[in-house]
Amino acid sequence: MKTNKKQIGRKKALIFYAAWMIIPMLHFAIFYIGVNFNSIILAFKKYDYAQNAYTFTFENFTKFFSDLFSADGLGIVLKNSFVLYLWGLVIGVSLAVLFSFYIYKKFAGSGFFKVILFLPSIIPSIAMALIFLVFSDIAVPKALNIITGKTYTGLMAVGSNTVFPAIIFYNVWISFGISVLMYSSAMSRIPEEIVEYSRIEGVSYAREFFSITIPLIGSTLETFIVVGIAGIFTNQANILAFFPTTNDRTIQTIGFYLFSQVARGMTSLYPYLAAGGLIFTIITFPITFGVKQLLSKVVPEVEF
C-alpha cells in the first residue's frame, strides 16, 4: 500500500513536471535546436537563379575562408575582434577586480564608486555611445587645441586611425557594471575569519588581494573568462550605435559584421553569413574547452 502511494505520488510529480516543462522544451526545440539546425542547412545552400531553387554547395565556406584571408576582406575584422577581446580581458577584467576589491573592503567612497561604475550599464547604450561620439569629435579636439595650439580631428572622425582605439577604450570604459557587482558579491562571501587572521598576521592588502581574494573568487573569475571567450565573435562593440551605416572594415568586429548584414536586409547573404557563423562556432568550441581545462588546473577548487 505504501509503495502504491509512493508510486502514485511520483506519477503525479512527473505529470506536473512534464506539464510545466513542455512549453520551455518546445521553445528550446524551435529557437535553439531548430534555429541552429536551420543555420547549418542554410550554410550549405545557394540559390540557383537558373533552376529557381536552392542547391547544395560548399561555396559559402570557400568564399568565407577566402574573404577571411584576403587583404581587404574579413581578416582585419577578425583581428579587431581578437584585439578588442584581449584589451577587455587584460585591462577590463583586471580593473574590474581591483575596483571590486576596493568596494568589498568598503574604503572611502566605495558606495559612490559602486553606483558610478554601474551607471553606464543601465543608461541606454545608444545614448551613451552618442554622447561619447559627440564628445570625442567636438570636445576632445578643442581641448587638445587649447593645450597644444595644434589642430586635431575628432577621435571618431571617419577615416581617422584613432577610431578603433577609441572604440576599444569606450568598450572597456563601460564594461565594469555587472562584472564589478559579481566580483564584489563573490568577495563578500569570503569568510571573515580568513580576512581577520590575515590582518592579525600582518598581511598587506596587496598580499591579501593576490594570495587570498583572487584565489577564493577564482570560480567566478573562471566563469566570466570562459563565457567571455564565446563573446569574441559576437561582441558588436557598440559600432552600430557609433556608425550605423559604416562599411569600413578597419573598425568592424565579426559580431558587428554578422549583425549589420542581417539588419540591412541582405537576405541573399544569409547562406554566406550562416557559413561564417558555423566556422566561428567550430573555432570557439575547442578554445572555450581548452581555456576551461587550463583554468580548472590553475584555479583552486574551494568551498566555503
Binding site: 567612497g109 545608444i126 554622447i131 557587482l181 596587496a206 570560480s219 566563469t223 554578422l258 539588419a263 562556432t281
Partner: protein, 291 residues
Amino acid sequence: MKKNSKQPIIIIALVLAVLYAVSFVLLMVWATISSLKGRFDLLGNPFGLPKKWMFENFITAAKGIAMDVPYGYSVRTVEIWEQLFYSVLYAGGSAFINCFVLCVVSYLVAKYDFAFSKFVYGIVVVSMMIPIIGALPSEMQIMTTLKLKDSFFGVFVLRASFTGMYFLMFYAQFKNISDGYSQAASIDGASHTRIMFEIIFPLVKGTFGVIFLVLFVNFWNDYQTPMLYLSSKPTVAYGLYMLNAQPRDNSAGSLPVKLAACILSCLPVVILFIIFRDKMMGNFSVGGLKG
C-alpha cells in the same frame, strides 16, 4: 582593527576609481549643458555655458525621435508617446516572460530529481559556454516562417527562453530552500502547482524582483530586437537609434538635439535606478562552471 588605507594597492585603486568617476560625471554634465546650446554654439564653444539657453532642443528631440513606419500601403508617424508605450510593453512583457520561464524551469530542475533535470542543467551550461554564432539569419527565417515578426506576441515567444546566467541564480536560490517546506505542504494536501506558486515562489520573490528589474532595464535599452522584429512598433531606444542614423530633418539632426534626445532617453531608467538602486545592485552570485 583600523584600516590602513594608505597602502599602495588601495591608493592605486582609489586614484583609478576617482579618474573613472570624474570622467563619467564630467561627460554627463558636459552632455547636459551641450544639449542646451545651438548647433554653432556647441561647435565654437564646446566647454562654455550656452550663449542662449535652448530648452526647446528637448521638444525638438522629442519630435525628432518620432519615426515613420509602414502602415498598410502607406506610412504613419509613431510619436514619442506611442514609442514610450511600446517600450513599456516590450520591456515589461519580455522581462516578465523571460523571468517567469527562468523561475519555473530552474525550480523544476532544482527540486525534482528526474534524470531530465540533469539534462536541462547541462543544456544551460553548454549554451552559456558555446553560443552558436551567426544564427541570426536562421532566426529571422524562422520568425518570418512562423509569422512572429512585427508582433509583440512574437517577441514574447522569442524571449520565453530558460538559458542564460539568471537560470543559475534562480537555481542556486531554489537549491538553498529546504525541502521541508514542500514536504509539509504536501502532507497537508497541497498540489505540486500550489506548492510551487504559493509556498516556494514567494520565498524567491526578492530574486525574481531583482532579475525582473535588471531584465526590464536591458530590454528598455535594447534597440536591435525592435529594429529586427518590431519595425512598425518602434520603442524609444529604436527611435533614438534612427534619430542618429536617419534624422527626419535638419533640426533633428543637429548635435545638441541628439544630445537632448540622449538625455531624455536616460531619464526613465535613471529614475527606476534611483528608486530601486539597492535591489538592482544587491548581492549577485553565480557559481562556477566546474564539471
